[in-house]
Amino acid sequence: MADSQPPADRATVAVAIAEAHRREWAFVLAATVRVTRDLDAAEECVQDAYVAALDAWARQGVPRNPAAWLTTAARNRALDSLRRDRTLRAKLPLLIVPEPVRDPAVPPGGVPAIGDDRLRLIFTCCHPALAREAQVALTLRLVCGVTTAEIAQAFVVSEPTMAARVTRAKKKIAAARISYRVPELAELPDRLDAVLTVIHLLYTTGHTNPHGANLVRADLVERATGLARMLRQLMPDEPEVAGLLALLLLTDARRATRTDEQGHLLLLEQQDRSRWDQADIAEGAALVVQALRRGRPGRFALQAAIAAVHAEAPSYDKTDWPQLLELYDRLLIAWPSPVVALNRAVVVSMVCGPEAALDDVADLERDGRLAGYRYLPAAKADMLRRLGRAGEALLAYQEALDLADNAAERAFLAGRVAEVQQPAER
């Protein structure tokens, strides 16, 4: 028969669908939301489209443009169900979807106004009227297509808790009339910062899984990097977007060397630099240059610049500490956070010695905002150890150990406790 191509084998189709799910979910959903103007309904239609693809692609072969195929299928489903049961949608108000032609959000020479709704989707998920944890959950669910069960697992909460969080957030978007749109130019810096913060939070949760046994959750890390890449493609002229992607790449380049074969934490100075991912470092460093070129760099560009200095140093000892200190000074102005001040103190210890850095640590202890933050006593302990003040170092390591949950970090701190205990007992 003329119309029957040889059916694609099941395995090929399964791989193609998994690939399309990972790469195209956001595009397909974002386009479908425009039709349904209801997030739940759109999700259902997209889910159905992926199921329909299983059969259709097996019969007709995998389409050349899976995203277009899935979008058409999902939007057709949405139109069908809109015709069938308008009444079902009366529970909550429909999303406000401003027309793209009237959308003034496009920065000059920036994002094309028509054709891609993924930015609308991600800015809606990260709207500041939603709690941060809801922003994170919604982004994973709607932009990445991760199941609620998987999100619950990643954030160590029960599935019903996570489901309730997602449902509540969607309900607020509809009931409070959060528009499905990209923010206007005037509000863009703040709104973009929320999006970048959510992506960065996903990354750090994956990078140092705070409760689990393994230091890295590759799935979350890859989701975060994927989101940063997507955003970079959609907003190529935003320096902070380039900065975030650079920061993730430069940090992730060291992933393989952060623990030894037994899963023990290795510090920057102990890591085997020959095993750092040079492709990631090159890409990240090039992005840093672009992010800094525009002047007045933001916190992600500056953090990325710091990561680049580390990544490009031939060894720990040959790190350009004075340049790092300068970058940290600028970062502290762009982002006056006590965590930045702590990291700066560590750099001060390398430039001016641990004695001087302990003054900064004492300031931070008085400040109080870092109470319960395990890296504060850990950094202090390290400075005291380097000064040979073993007794005080022991107390600080012990304090850090009491605060750490991650198994790899605990093992590292326990090792340091044992190390400083030895000379102290002699």
Partner: protein
Amino acid sequence: MAQYAILIYEAEEGYASGGEQAWQQAMEAHGRFAARVGELGGKITGGDALQPAVTATSIRGDIVTDGPFTETKEALGGFYLIEARDLDHAIAIARECPAPYGGVEVRPIMDTSGG
């Protein structure tokens, strides 16, 4: 246009200790706010100031008690009903609502007309 309530929560002692002058200033600020809402493209459809919380009477089931429903440091002292394009627009308007001794809460109005 969507409907929102802007609920004004303030520490009442602010007005009590500020005296007539504080009250006068707040009233003038509200007058300016009312004009601003139109300039911002929104519309005020209702609202009022409330007498202090000590004048409240609460009723729960059969029990009538003296005082507000919940005792808090910042009490509901007044409200506006507004129309705005979406939540961002409502927040932009609410940002300008005077509340020198507290802050405001934006709540979408539920549409119950559909049954």
